[in-house]
C-alpha cells in the first residue's frame, strides 16, 4: 500500500465518520460543523484525483459561503429535540426506502461495465493545468448546458428574492443619492434675532 492509497483511506474514513455525525449529532451547530469537515475531506480526495480546481472550488463555495450562511441560520434556530423525535418511527420506513434507492443507484453507476473500464485516474504531467482544461471545455463543447445552468440559477435567485420581498407602507429609509446632493441652502438657514442685532450695532461691526 503506497502513501497515496493510505491518504485516500484516511480522507475516506474522515468523510464517512463526519457524514455519520452530521445526522447523529444532537446539536445542530455541531452537525453543521461536521458537514464542513466532510466537505474538507472530500476536497482532499478530489486533490488526490488531480482535480485541483474542483477541490479548491468546493472549499471556496461550499465551506466558505454556503455553510457560513447555513450556520448563520442554524445558530438562530431554537430546536426542541423531543418535538423532532416524535415522528421518527412514523417516517422511518419512508426514509429507509429513500436510502435504499440511493444505494441501489450508486451500485448501478459504480458497478456498471462502462465505469469499470475507466478505472484508475489518468496521470498528467506536473505542468498540466486542470483549470485551463475545464474552462476550455465549459466554454466550447458544453457552452449551452453551462449557460442553461446559469440561467436556471438566475431564475431561482430572482424567484427567491421575489418571494421574500414585502413592500410595506410607511417604512423609513434613506436615499443616499439624495443625501449626497444636499446643498448648504437646503439644510441651513441663518437667522439674526433682535438681541444679536443690538450687540452687533454696539460693537460697531
Amino acid at each position: 500500500m503506497n502513501l497515496e492509497t493510505l491518504v485516500f483511506y484516511l480522507f475516506g474514513a474522515i468523510t464517512l465518520l463526519a457524514g455519520l455525525r452530521v445526522i447523529t449529532a444532537r446539536n445542530p451547530v455541531h452537525a453543521a460543523m461536521f458537514l464542513v469537515l466532510a466537505f474538507c475531506s472530500s476536497a482532499g480526495i478530489w486533490l488526490l484525483l488531480e482535480a485541483e480546481f474542483l477541490a479548491v472550488t468546493l472549499i471556496l463555495v461550499y465551506v466558505g459561503a454556503v455553510m457560513v450562511l447555513f450556520l448563520f441560520v442554524v445558530m438562530m434556530l431554537d430546536i426542541n429535540l423531543d418535538q423532532l423525535r416524535e415522528g421518527f418511527w412514523r417516517w422511518f420506513p419512508f426514509g429507509a426506502a429513500l436510502a435504499l434507492i440511493m444505494v441501489a443507484e450508486m451500485v448501478w453507476v459504480l458497478g456498471s461495465r462502462t465505469t469499470a473500464d475507466t478505472v484508475g485516474a489518468v496521470q498528467h504531467a506536473a505542468n498540466y493545468s486542470n483549470t485551463k482544461e475545464l474552462g476550455r471545455l465549459l466554454y466550447t463543447d458544453y457552452v449551452y448546458p453551462f449557460e442553461l445552468a446559469a440561467v436556471l440559477l438566475l431564475v431561482a435567485m430572482v424567484a427567491a428574492i421575489a418571494l421574500t420581498l414585502r413592500r410595506r407602507i410607511g417604512v423609513k429609509s434613506q436615499d443616499i443619492a439624495k443625501q449626497v446632493q444636499v446643498k448648504k441652502a437646503d439644510r441651513l438657514r441663518i437667522i439674526t434675532d433682535e438681541s444679536e442685532r443690538k450687540t452687533d450695532a454696539q460693537s460697531g461691526s
Partner: protein
C-alpha cells in the same frame, strides 16, 4: 559552502530530508510574520499617536521597542476564563480556526522569482479558498461564548465577510484575465516591462481600490469593524475571551492585514518589480509596497469613523459588486482591442 552543507545534511537524513527541509522553510516564513505582527501592533499605536498628536508607547525598552514583548508576556500570564454555559470545545477551537487560515495562505505567496514555499498553479484560488475559511473562527467564537453581544458580533461578521468576498473575487477575476494565470509568481512576471507603468494598477484601477477596501472589510478593520463595534456590542465576537485565546484573534487580524497588503502589492503593484527601469528588482520593493498598504490600514483607523451596518451592506452590494461586474466586462472587451498594452 552553503550548498555543500545542505548536501551533507541531505545525505545524512535520507528520506526524512524532504519533510525536515519543508518544516525549516515553513519556520523561516512563519517566524518573520509573527515578528511583523508583534511590531505592527506597536507601529499602529505609534501611527495613531502621531495622527492624534500624542507620543505613543515609549516606556518599555529603548523608544518603547520592547512594548510588544511586554504585551505578549502579560497576555500569556492571564487566565483564560471560559464562561458558564459556553461550548468548551468550540470556544477553545475558535481562536485556532481564525489564526490557522491566516498563516496557511502564506504557503503560496512568492517573495521573489525563486523564493516561494509552494509554487501552486492555482495559487490565487487557493488564497481565496483558505481566507474564506477564516470566518468560521469568528462565527464559532460568537456562538460558543453563550453571550448575546458575542453572538450579534458573529452574525454581523458572517454577513459582512460573505458580502465583501464576492467583490473581492471579481477583482481577482480581472487580475487573472490580465495575467492569464492563477499562479501568483506568473501574475507578477506578467507585470514586467516599463516600470510602474506596466503594473496592473493602471488598467485595473477601480479593481485595485475595490480589492484593497474589501480587504479592509474582510480583516474586520476600521472603518468596517462592525463585528467588534465597541459602542454598540462591547467587543463583539471576542467579548468573552481573555489571555492568550484573545491574543490569537489579535494575531490573526494582524496576520491577515499583512497578507492583504502583500497580495495587493503582488497583484496590482508588481510585487518585487522595481518602479523605475534603472533600479534592480528586489524583495525590498515588495516589502516597501506592503509596508505602504499597512500604513494605509493604520491611517484609515485613525481617520474614519465606523460605518453604520446598513451603509456597509450598501457599499458592498450596491457599489463594489456592480462596479467590479462592469469592470470584468470592460477588461474583457478592452483586451480584444489593440489598445490593451499590458
Amino acid at each position: 559552502m552553503m550548498t555543500e552543507l545542505l548536501q551533507t545534511l541531505q545525505n545524512l537524513l535520507g528520506p526524512a530530508w524532504v519533510p525536515v527541509w519543508t518544516a525549516v522553510k515553513i519556520v523561516a516564513i512563519v517566524v518573520p510574520i509573527m515578528l511583523s505582527v508583534a511590531y505592527l501592533t506597536l507601529a499602529e499605536r505609534w501611527v495613531i499617536g502621531w495622527v492624534q498628536v500624542r507620543i505613543g508607547p515609549n516606556r518599555v525598552g529603548p523608544l518603547g521597542l520592547l512594548q510588544p514583548l511586554a504585551d505578549g508576556v502579560k497576555l500569556l500570564l492571564k487566565e483564560i476564563v471560559i464562561p458558564t454555559g459556553a461550548n468548551k470545545f468550540l470556544f477553545v477551537l475558535a481562536p485556532v480556526l481564525t489564526l490557522l487560515p491566516a498563516l496557511v495562505a502564506w504557503a503560496v505567496i512568492p517573495f521573489s522569482p525563486e523564493i516561494v514555499l509552494a509554487n501552486v498553479d492555482a495559487g490565487l484560488l487557493f488564497i481565496l479558498a483558505v481566507t474564506s475559511v477564516g470566518v468560521y473562527g469568528i462565527i464559532l467564537a460568537g456562538w460558543a461564548s453563550n453571550s448575546k453581544y458575542a453572538f450579534l458580533g458573529a452574525l454581523r461578521s458572517a454577513a459582512q465577510i460573505v458580502s465583501y468576498e464576492i467583490a473581492m473575487g471579481f477583482a481577482l477575476v480581472t487580475v487573472l484575465m490580465a495575467a492569464g494565470s492563477l499562479n501568483l509568481g506568473d501574475i507578477v512576471k506578467g507585470q514586467q516591462g516599463a516600470g510602474a507603468l506596466s503594473w496592473y494598477w493602471i488598467p485595473l484601477f477601480p479593481m485595485f481600490i475595490v480589492y484593497f477596501l474589501s480587504g479592509v472589510a474582510e480583516t474586520n478593520r476600521a472603518p468596517f469593524d462592525m463585528a467588534e463595534g465597541e459602542s454598540e456590542i462591547v467587543a463583539g465576537f471576542h467579548v468573552e475571551y481573555s489571555g492568550m485565546a484573545f491574543a490569537l484573534f489579535f494575531l490573526a487580524e494582524y496576520a491577515n492585514m499583512i497578507l492583504i497588503a502583500f497580495l495587493t502589492a503582488l497583484m496590482f503593484l508588481g510585487g518585487w518589480l522595481s518602479p523605475v527601469p534603472f533600479l534592480p528588482d528586489s524583495f525590498l520593493w515588495l516589502l516597501a509596497k506592503a509596508g505602504f498598504f499597512l500604513f494605509v490600514f493604520l491611517w484609515f483607523r485613525a481617520t474614519f469613523p465606523r460605518y453604520r451596518y446598513d451603509q456597509l451592506m450598501r457599499l458592498g452590494w450596491k457599489v463594489f459588486i456592480p462596479v467590479s461586474l462592469i469592470w470584468v466586462v470592460v477588461v474583457g472587451l478592452w483586451m480584444q482591442t489593440p489598445l490593451w498594452l499590458w
